[in-house]
């Protein structure tokens, strides 16, 4: 399911990213690659969408979070 639908405080494993090579590359350099474990720190309606990966907080646009498939 898309990352954007994961509830706050839940862990998920990235499966794939639908997007251009540029987006994939940027996400990869930030540690967001298929197989990476992420924790959704914030996901509240209108608020920011923040995930923790390794020990970094990454703020992602909601549209982008819809393009990231997780398990």
């Amino acid at each position: 399911m898309p990352l954007a639908l994961i509830r706050e405080g839940t862990k998920a494993v990235l499966r794939s990213i639908q997007g251009g090579r540029n987006l994939r590359g940027r996400l990869a350099a930030l540690g967001l690659i298929p197989g990476a474990e992420v924790t959704v720190l914030r996901n509240g309606g209108n608020g920011p969408f923040v995930v923790a990966v390794n020990n970094a907080r990454i703020c992602i646009g909601r549209g982008m979070a819809m393009k990231i498939e997780v398990d």
């Binding site: 540690g31 608020g47 907080r57 703020c59 549209g63």
Partner: protein, 719 residues
């Protein structure tokens, strides 16, 4: 003494710049990379054995370049500039930071890894076996806490040691696995024949080609290389579970995992700590924006309350300098050199430098917001608002600085990642009413509006600017800059206390760029504009047209006026006395190129309710917006408008009505960015085309809107 060039590389927020500042202190130089608009910082550190030249590269997550900054960092490293590369890694987030490290090592660069913020990592329960890390990476690993100066000596010692046996180390070999490796080998083979890539860099280039890195692909003239690269990448797409670039990133992280296994103990879990609690407030869906606006309000208030006394000091200093230089000539001297220095150089450059205290304070506040980690949150909070106008959340900061001065604001667009976002922001920036336009409002509003209307009129002007900027950005996005919006993706660094050294250094760096601008292009244009408003000189006995000079109500007999003695419409009962010198200055202005141009422009100005006097003042205002006031002072023969503001207002009232007064302000708000803005737009956009587009576009917009307001107002019966 041995000279060693050291490049500082690392992820954003890894403490790279803190290390740079701690190592080099005040011995820094700033500039631009040749040809591009990325800030270039160099600092020197002397040790008993060597002179170390540190270059602070822009922060980058990998060597794949997504922004101009990252491209600059990469090209510098690839170009073989540095003798040693100091790679600053955030110890609390080692795996991610080592992504860049592995790329640097693959290039065979002589790297020293600085395990920065090791105190924070230790507090989180992380332990490092640096010896093991060193062995696996094949590069020295030095723990440090750059904000407190811990470990700096070790860093310096390692740098000197690595520089000593330069070239000994072969490039690191990341094992990309059995699917990727054969393709790398094949492309290395291709690159070995006549591609011009040095042997040590071929493997790295081959990997980038497999990743379909645009910049690397484009760097080859030979189309056969692109074809072969695409062939190999396509094969890899099919073989692997993912596209070639994802497969390669995965393998790289797997390799990093192997390096860290056993060398990093403990695992910092991203739990709810102070940063998350603060983020609950700072990024609140409802309160986020008000909090940001309140912070900005505080910043601006402080900038002006603290800055104004300093600005007065600057003004007095520059004024005294002018008086002193003028005093080198006998009183009443008509020496062109004196006029050039006093009116042209000091008037023009001084007028820009006067804002330096305010600008430094503003940069200090921005450094504080950036260094504390809040800026990333602000960008997020504003992204919702800004994206409606087709701008990035980060665009808000330059727009905000635009209220202070457009020039540093345009420089601040450097933080935007895409050229499109940068250009749009840059083009609409002059619509944010800058500090130099305030003197115009301060003169005109009390001249035409009663006390209780003065606040609302000022407010309306600022709001008009903001609305036009947002609408303009949206229109630009929909016309010239169409395309997908940049998705919002940003790391939120933990909140930190910025170091004093970092704050001061950043403030000076940007402030210095501002001063340099004033000393070069602005100096040139100031001299040109001085010439336009001073020449040609009226010949002796020239009688100016009746409307060119107000009647001198009282002339000291000794002054011996030669011009402007015929009566004119100005001899009202409330006319302030104009001295002979003031009348002469007004006549000279009317005779000058600017005065004539003002008359020439009159047909265009008429529909807005302006006459040639306004036109002349507008030409002067190109030097700097506030010069408009000084020019009006000359045209209306009141001398220094700062001292005779009331006299000037009285004359303005006799010539214009409140509607025209408002139209003048509206036009000044929108039209013709000042020469400094044009120059800096040219510099930052990389072409005169955009600077011209901005100049003429805004001027046309101003004309259309002012004509609409004036004609509409007249129709509505507003006199």
């Amino acid at each position: 003494m041995k000279r060693i060039t050291v490049a500082l590389a690392g992820n954003p927020n890894s403490g790279k710049t803190t290390l740079f500042n701690s190592l080099t202190g005040a011995r820094q130089r700033v500039g631009n990379y040749p040809g591009v608009t990325v800030e270039w910082k160099e600092g020197i550190r002397r040790t008993p054995d060597a002179e170390l030249h540190f270059v602070d590269l822009p922060g980058t997550y990998s060597l794949t370049a997504y922004s101009e900054e990252e491209l600059v960092a990469r090209n510098y490293l690839l170009g073989g500039g540095p003798d040693v590369v100091v790679d600053v890694v955030d110890a609390s987030n080692l795996e991610r930071n080592l992504y860049l490290t592995t790329e640097l090592l693959e290039l065979g660069l002589p790297v020293v890894v600085v395990l920065n913020m090791s105190d924070v990592a230790a507090a989180k329960g992380l332990e490092f076996d640096t010896t093991l890390l060193e062995r696996r990476l094949g590069a020295p690993v030095v723990p440090a806490v750059s904000s407190r100066g811990v470990g700096l000596d070790d860093v310096l010692a390692s740098v000197i040691a690595v520089a000593g046996h330069n070239g000994d180390r072969p490039p690191a070999r990341v094992d990309f696995g059995r699917e990727v490796e054969p393709r790398i080998e094949r492309l290395v083979g291709t690159l070995a024949t006549g591609s011009g890539v040095p042997a040590g860099q071929r493997r790295w280039h081959a990997v980038k080609l497999l990743e379909r890195d645009h910049a690397v692909l484009r760097s080859f003239d030979d189309p056969a290389i692109a074809v072969q690269a695409e062939e190999a990448a396509a094969e890899l797409d099919l073989d692997g579970a993912d596209t070639s670039d994802v497969t390669i990133s995965r393998q790289r992280y797997a390799y990093i995992d192997g390096i860290c296994r056993g060398a990093v103990r403990g695992r910092a879990l991203p739990g709810l700590d102070r940063t998350d609690r603060l983020d609950r407030i700072a990024m609140h869906p409802v309160w986020g924006v008000p909090i940001f606006l309140a912070l900005m309000f505080v910043v601006f208030n402080l900038t002006f309350t603290l800055g104004d006394p300093l600005m007065t000091l600057m003004e007095n200093g520059i004024g005294s300098l002018g008086v002193w230089i003028a005093g080198l000539w006998p009183a009443g001297s008509q020496s062109p050199l004196r006029s050039l220095l006093v009116d042209g150089v000091i008037g023009g450059v001084g007028g820009v430098l006067v804002f330096l205290p305010n600008i430094l304070l503003l940069f200090l506040a921005i450094a504080l917001l950036e260094g504390s980690g809040y800026m990333a949150r602000a960008a997020f909070v504003m992204d919702r608002v800004m994206s409606r106008a087709g701008l990035h959340g980060k665009s808000f900061i330059p727009l905000l600085i635009g209220f202070g001065c457009t020039v540093p604001a345009i420089m601040a667009t450097r933080t935007l990642e895409t050229r499109r976002d940068r250009l749009i922001t840059m083009l609409v920036l002059p619509l944010m009413s800058c500090g130099a336009r305030l003197p115009i409002y301060a003169l005109l509003i009390p001249a035409f509006f009663p006390q209780r209307w003065q606040g609302p009129v000022l407010w309306a002007l600022y709001v008009t600017g903001i609305v036009l900027a947002l609408v303009g950005a949206r229109l630009l996005r929909r016309s010239l800059f169409r395309g997908e919006t940049t998705p919002f993706l940003m790391e939120l660094p933990p909140y930190r206390m910025p170091t004093a050294l970092n704050l001061v250094s950043q403030m000076w760096t940007r402030g210095w760029l501002y001063v340099k601008k004033a000393g070069t292009i602005i100096l040139g244009v100031s001299i040109l504009l001085w010439a336009l408003t001073s020449y040609p000189k009226p010949p002796a006995g020239w009688t100016p047209p009746a409307d060119a000079t107000p009647a001198p109500a009282a002339i000291a007999p000794a002054a011996g006026a030669t011009a402007g003695l015929d009566g004119s419409s100005d001899a009202g009962p409330d006319a302030a006395a104009a001295t002979a010198a003031e009348v002469e200055a007004a006549a000279a202005m009317a005779y000058s190129v600017a005065g004539r141009a003002g008359r020439l422009l009159e047909p265009i100005l008429r529909p807005m309710g302006f006459d040639w006097r306004i036109g002349t003042a507008l030409i002067g205002a190109f030097a700097a917006k506030e010069v408009f006031v000084a020019q009006l002072g000359i045209v209306f023969a009141v001398g220094n408008p700062d001292e005779n503001a009331e006299a000037l207002r009285a004359r303005l009232r006799r010539h214009y009505d409140p509607l025209v007064g408002y139209c003048i302000m509206l036009f000044c708000l929108i039209a013709t960015p000042c020469m400094s803005t044009v120059a800096v737009t040219r510099q930052e956009s990389g072409s005169w085309r955009w600077a011209q587009f901005q100049f003429w576009g805004l001027t046309l917009l101003a004309w259309i809107l002012t004509v609409l307001v004036f004609q509409g107002g007249r129709l509505a019966g507003i006199a």
